[in-house]
């Protein structure tokens, strides 16, 4: 097709935490410092910032320009990409196109988000902006209440108890202990939910991603150099904004289609996927995503997912700890996913080896309203 291949030259990420001492600029700077520590000096011709809420949280419009200026990146192409919680992989998708088309040769993507800036009700207010402002926004229906209704529908339809589904957070926390930049690096037990406050019944705090700030950087190049990892495919799709206006709220068509489009572009089958990072913003969504990606039949993923190995079908799932325990700094999350898979494929996480298998990141907004998938493979 005449397209250039897209390689990941390097990456870097800050621990996801309540960084009261850091705003957007400092978070971005730390991500770059860590990228350059392993890669060396970068010279991007393009900066893409992935961020969901600089306007609503930090009164900053044009964040890409301000960060470029601060970082001393002069006379380059700058842009911010946003698609709600899916901004990260949306930014990776846009960046992929720029390298593949030849418009950019060395592209720096920084996912950066300042979340813990206000008391919780105000963070929830900002987060609620991912829904239709004229409907769920103004009617005070935050994303956690939608997830809770979906949890109830899922348990009712498929006959699961709350404890059955809680195995997911337990596994995520165990995985996060081994992820150096995860926010919640502590294990929990199968009955830990009893001490966890209810967010929106039946979902408790341990079923919901933690609020935290983050910064993650990925350097993409058209020149393979010493690179070990390539982006082999990208795909995305979209659906009705709220889950219950769709025919079936318990299946995310946008997730399925985005994943299948990425597989087709990479020329790969689901069977070749050895590791995935999925968007488990809320416990029930983890199961619905796995089913929507075809790793289990509808309603069957709680039975098919193996908590001991954190795997389903032939793939490891969320060894990072996922949104649940690694964290979810909104617009930065998709970039964290790519960074983690890049680390794994290039051998930096010694406790994981997926051989020549493919890695998939899946990043969505809302309850499967929009979803992106990116497929990575090792090239040497």
């Amino acid at each position: 097709m005449g397209e250039r291949r897209v390689y990941i030259g390097g990456g870097g990420a800050i621990e996801i935490d309540r960084h009261y001492d850091k705003g957007y600029k400092a978070l971005a700077l730390e991500a770059i410092r860590r990228l350059e520590k392993s890669y060396g000096t970068i010279e991007p011709d393009t900066l893409i910032i992935s961020s969901m809420s600089p306007e609503s949280m930090s009164e900053q419009i044009g964040i890409a320009g301000v960060i470029a200026d601060y970082l001393g990146l002069k006379r380059i192409n700058v842009m911010r990409i946003e698609m709600g919680e899916a901004s990260g992989l949306a930014s990776i998708a846009a960046s992929y196109s720029m390298i593949a088309s030849g418009v950019s040769r060395r592209l720096l993507v920084i996912g950066v988000e300042k979340v813990v800036e206000l008391p919780t009700p105000y963070i929830v207010r900002v987060y609620s902006m991912i829904g239709d402002a004229d409907y769920t926004g103004i009617y005070g229906i935050p994303p956690a209440s939608e997830a809770s209704l979906i949890a109830n529908l899922y348990m009712d339809r498929f006959g699961y108890s709350y404890e059955d589904l809680f195995r997911w957070p337990v596994t995520m926390h165990r995985n996060a202990v081994k992820n150096p930049h995860a926010m919640l690096r502590f294990t929990i037990k199968s009955d830990s939910y009893k001490d966890s406050p209810v967010v929106s019944d039946p979902l408790r705090l341990l079923d919901v991603y933690p609020f935290g700030d983050g910064g993650s950087a990925i350097y993409l190049t058209s020149d393979p150099g010493d690179t070990a990892v390539e982006i082999a495919g990208i795909g995305s799709s979209s659906d009705a904004q709220d889950a219950i206006s769709r025919e079936d709220p318990l299946f995310f068509s946008a997730v399925r289609e985005g994943f299948e489009r990425a597989l087709r572009m990479a020329g790969v089958e689901r069977d070749h996927v050895r590791i995935v990072e999925i968007h488990d913003s809320f416990t029930p969504y983890a199961y619905i995503i796995l089913e929507s990606m075809g790793f289990a039949e509808r309603g069957d993923s709680p039975r098919r997912f193996s908590p001991d190995s954190s795997s389903i079908y032939r793939a490891y799932v969320n060894l990072s700890g996922g949104l649940k325990a690694r964290g979810h700094p909104w617009g930065a999350t998709g970039v964290y996913q790519v960074y983690e898979l890049f680390q794994i494929l290039s051998g930096a996480w010694s406790h994981v080896d997926v051989g020549d298998g493919y890695a998939v990141a899946q990043n969505m907004s809302g309850a499967g309203a929009q979803s992106y998938s990116a497929i990575l493979r090792r090239v040497r």
Binding site: E55, P121, R125, D132, L149, V198, D201, S245
Partner: protein, 139 residues
């Protein structure tokens, strides 16, 4: 973020704040809320907008404790998934009911209630909430 409600915006939203205008596809019959330009199921643009009678069934509900700013006066809030008799679903707060009396399958009706207030001297936004139908049984 906007810290004040815009009178012109609230006026623009009057059709969805003061009544329930829903869509039905004339091609495939699918009913949905809020209305879109084309059918969610079959993509036809042959859409009919009607006003719902506001009567329906509480299919699911959740008690929300992590209430967003500006809605905390009524925390905790009951968020319901209501299936209206016309065949579409929508979210809404459920009011005039004790948590212990909530049941899946409860008949509910739409009512006009205060949604939020803009400080002590600003706009009061009204909109649709749901309450159990008086004398209603289960649906």
């Amino acid at each position: 973020m906007a810290s004040r409600d815009s009178p012109s915006r609230i006026w623009r939203l009057r059709d969805s704040l003061y009544s329930i205008r829903y869509a039905r596809c004339r091609s495939c019959g699918y009913a949905f809320y809020p209305p879109r330009v084309s059918c969610i199921r079959c993509s036809s643009r042959d859409i009919e907008i009607s006003v719902s009678r506001g009567l329906g069934v509480l299919e699911e509900y959740t008690v929300l404790y992590q209430v967003p700013a500006r809605y905390q006066d009524s925390a905790p809030v009951i968020v319901g998934l209501v299936r209206l008799d016309e065949g579409f679903r929508m979210y809404g707060h459920v009011v005039d009911v004790d948590i212990k009396d909530l049941r899946r399958g409860l008949r509910v009706e739409a009512v006009l209630r205060r949604i939020r207030v803009d400080g002590s001297s600003g706009l009061i936004v009204y909109g649709i909430k749901f309450r159990p139908t008086i004398g209603g049984g289960h649906g």
